[in-house]
Symmetry: C2
Subunit: 350 residues, 2 copies
Amino acid sequence: MIRVGVDGMGGDYGPAVIVEGAVLAANDFPHLEIVLVGQTDALKRELNRHKVLGGKIEIQEAPEVVGMGDSPVAAIKKKKNSSIGVAVELHKKKIVDAVVSAGNTGAAVAASLLILGNLPGVKRPGIAIGTPTLRGISVTMDVGANINPSAEELFQYAVMAETYARYIFKKKKPSVGLLNIGEEETKGTDALKEAYKLLRDSHLNFIGNIEGRDFFTGKADCIICDGFVGNVVLKMCESVLEVCMELIKREVKKNPISLLGAWLCKPTLNAIRQQTNYEDAGGAPLLGINGNIIISHGISSAKAIRNAIRVAGELVANRVNENIMDGLTLNLNSRADTSSQSGPQLQEKN
Amino acid sequence: MIRVGVDGMGGDYGPAVIVEGAVLAANDFPHLEIVLVGQTDALKRELNRHKVLGGKIEIQEAPEVVGMGDSPVAAIKKKKNSSIGVAVELHKKKIVDAVVSAGNTGAAVAASLLILGNLPGVKRPGIAIGTPTLRGISVTMDVGANINPSAEELFQYAVMAETYARYIFKKKKPSVGLLNIGEEETKGTDALKEAYKLLRDSHLNFIGNIEGRDFFTGKADCIICDGFVGNVVLKMCESVLEVCMELIKREVKKNPISLLGAWLCKPTLNAIRQQTNYEDAGGAPLLGINGNIIISHGISSAKAIRNAIRVAGELVANRVNENIMDGLTLNLNSRADTSSQSGPQLQEKN
């Protein structure tokens, strides 16, 4: 049995949507136990509106709430009994195996860092997310936790994203691309140039630099970038389909035949919306933390929360963290091998 | 009469497409005189294939060519008689008023910097480009000349982009947004935080930070960012419509009614393609240079070259550089006023 703690007070729509999502998850995934963390009265009131058919939902009291506008680190340090803080504490004590939060992202990251800490060997955690492409889902990392990563941190994001793509999106030997402004290895910042070398010499299926135009085509299964570019690009992705649909809507209105055509296409357009809907991803794991943390969009629907809980369960079941550590160790060993090989060669020269 | 020098050897398709574009421009814009710069024989051969009805096209010999893979600065320093080098030299000598190149972008930038230098007061030139949005064209700057701009450089890009939007896209009081990972002024890198303050205190119509999701909606007339993010985002824009069309194509095939619907929508989809076609922009000015330089995509079609020549003419006719310098001076003066005002206040306190 896998137990998932859910920050019951987070998200733009408050407990109503979160609790509805938890009920959906409990009914659909009977192998999960859900612990809703937050103000018991509010959570109970919402829970009473729904029927929990299968699965199991408990409530864990946490009287305080971190607001969307609160300063993350200060809020976590001051509000010891906030829903996100208590949820992560339950994880630390192994009472739950994973935590889902749609609340203040910075606070979820801060609570994870302060309470759980990094996975051994990891320099900085990052947020990975599945983005829809012409060849299925790609994993983009980092999308906002670290806006100025070092080469080694970018390299570690590649190891983490590749593990996530393999175990959660079931990709075989996922390809890894470094998001850059040109394909040549001399392009970009110093950190990117150095990360290129680390990736080229690693066990990963590194396909080199990729460019903005490759993002939606699915050229790389894993797209590695700093959290600034990743965040801008992710938010563009979220809006792009709506913008295209709006453009189509405007244009077809000018021409009755096109209007009829668009009406006939409606089921197809809806199918595309569905395919690229961010609700399905449900949430993004904060990888590199010594725990399983899923961060959901503030505007998450109940369905998105359900899916975030599903992914949290999958992180645990697939032992993603152990596999990340194996990947990191593998590379450290192969780097050590290379440097011990170059040692004797140098001695021979002398 | 405005004279536009055109790098006849640049671009992925060589002189054939460039010369065809020059002929289109000469026929459509009789107020422009075009000087094709490159290997006379090759250019003459291409020119003979076309009828020049109006306008005027001359050829200026330049025996050397900078390749797409050449190292920019080294190529400009070594190949003194390259087509791009000679074209920019003609501009320096005021024999032409502007230069268009679809060749090696780095070489065009290097030639401009080495031969023409910066506009007085400008710290670093940047590339501005018109990107289609739901509310018409926005200007994004920088899209690749400067991957690590300072706050002051970002501020100057805002002044330049705003001038370009006003005089070339005829926007009244164009709004300026800083592309960031959140709307709060505390978000992003130190350079962005500092640039936020400079913009807030300036004469510009600054609307604050904008996010990736605002890019295509046209929330800001001018989108200011570093050249790394700008380049990634621009290349995403270039691919996004094709990706959407491919998604629609795939899905409608699954359903005969949708297939009929899509067929009826074809003229509309083509109209959207047209609206968002990068051929129409034609090229992107390198602003901040003491001259008028238009950089075109390597894959430019003849139509794109024609439009780049048109924009080059508009830069000159609208005295965009003079207007940029006025904008920069206006802000320097208002900053000086503010600091002289704060001076006496301090004295009073003492």
